[in-house]
């Protein structure tokens, strides 16, 4: 019987595949925001006892606020400053990056049951989803040319790590959770500053122009 958590996992992977195919930056940012919001709701769905503890509620609320609202707002500001709307053809092309993405997803789903995990969890989709999301994030970072898309890839990567973290959420203390979120916030903040400077220097957010810095 497909539970709600399984549906959310499947939706997260579908969002990963969509991000690999999309060339419109506005739609991509909104989709990453949706993914962050979904992942914010996940701890509540994964609870086995049915009663949401304060810890889980805090985690869900924090993730929703930071990933669902704050960081997308920063990204929209960045693309408005640089006035860019679309991603260019990535290094490997949209179709090959989609194919690579789905191959990674297929391998993750086919073989994750053979990984040695400490806690045999009841949600069979958690580890494959996390692996797929990490893989999709890495593909985005490596293959896209615009800095904004690379930041989005980094966000997706962090989402994947977050899903892994949900495996151990009952044993991880609150401080580490907050630390992860703070790390994410700081990284995006720094990237925003970097993007501002790249744009000011080159009037574009094309990271290929960075190689013009060397002589």
């Amino acid at each position: 019987m497909a539970s709600n958590a399984d549906l959310v996992f499947v939706l997260v992977v579908v969002i990963d595949l969509f991000l690999l195919a999309s060339s419109r930056l506005g739609a991509s940012i909104r989709t990453v925001a949706m993914q962050g919001a979904l992942l914010g709701a996940l701890p509540l769905l994964l609870l086995r006892h049915g009663e949401p503890t304060g810890h889980a509620l805090l985690l869900a609320g924090g993730a929703l606020a930071v990933k669902g609202f704050f960081i997308p707002w920063l990204m929209f500001r960045a693309i408005r400053e640089a006035s860019i709307r679309r991603e260019m053809e990535p290094v490997v092309g949209f179709v090959p990056s989609m194919v690579l993405g789905v191959v990674g997803v297929a391998l993750a789903f086919a073989f994750s049951s053979r990984l040695p995990l400490p806690d045999p969890e009841t949600h069979g989709f958690l580890v494959p989803t996390a692996l797929s999301t990490v893989w999709a994030g890495l593909l985005l970072v490596v293959t896209r040319k615009k800095a904004v898309s690379q930041v989005l890839g980094f966000l997706v990567l962090e989402n994947g790590v977050y899903v892994f973290g949900l495996l151990l959420s009952s044993v991880m203390p609150l401080m580490v959770e907050a630390g992860v979120l703070l790390d994410l916030f700081a990284a995006v903040f720094v990237m925003g500053i970097v993007m501002f400077h790249i744009n000011r220097e080159f009037s574009s957010l094309d990271t290929e122009k960075l190689s013009a810095l060397k002589d």
């Binding site: 019987m1 497909a2 399984d6 549906l7 499947v10 992977v13 579908v14 595949l17 969509f18 195919a21 949209f94 179709v95 989609m98 194919v99 993405g101 789905v102 997803v105 297929a106 789903f109 086919a110 049951s113 494959p128």
Partner: protein, 301 residues
Amino acid sequence: MALRTLLHLAALLALPPLLLGIVNRTKAVFAGRVGPPLVQPYLDLAKLLRKGAVYSRTTTWVFRAGPVIGLAAVAAAGLLLAMGGAPAALSFGGDFVLFAYLLGLARFFTALAALDTGSPFEGMGAAREVTFASLAEPALFLCLLVLARATGTISLSGMLGAALPAAWGSAGPALLLAAIALFVIALAENARIPVDDPNTHLELTMIHEVMVLDHGGPDLAFILYGASLKLFLFGAILSRLVFRGGGALAAEGLFFLGVLVFAVGVGVVESVMARLRMVRVPQLLVGASVLAVFALVLLLR
């Protein structure tokens, strides 16, 4: 049982032009127009059958064979289709392969008839059509494989038969993804937006329309009817896939309702979206394949 099959075959012959009428009416409603009557396609077919024919001097017997084989192949594929939860007129293991290849036969001869005219526009349409079709075929197979795996059978009658409602219980997310992919493939195979605009009159932007530019009279009637029949086939599969369940009478009613909803859905998509650039269509089709691969992996693991 035989009566039910006969009724289904009668519906297969009579209903398809109505779907085209519904699509056009939906687009008119969205545009704020009154629009043509729902039975307009029937009237168009009748008018075309009454006309004479003009054949180009460049063409050969292949041009005259194109519409005939196109319609015959699609109609033969209709014999394999299971409607409303009942088995098809003919079914066997692996019949969906024959189904897909019969549609391929229709497309092959339509493309040849287009190349027979010696017109560059028709050649261009034929080139685009075979390109997009060769990308849509694997996607169609993947969706049907998801269905096959979920229901445990490899015939269309089994996939769309009594095992389907139970399959949704155990493989819901995968079947949902397959249904979405199948809708995209239906749009691509029937030359609808976002792959091709059936209302454009600029030959350089056409795919399917330009292939049939030189046909007229009864030939064009065959082609038009064949196109509506193909739309009906895809609508029937989607309708049964999404609106499954219920006893015999309820299943039939839901099935026909579903086909009408499908037609309305196609009309809505045509009204709210624009046609994709040609270079983006492979991305769309590969995207549908990717969704279907993911759905299949979910079921195979």
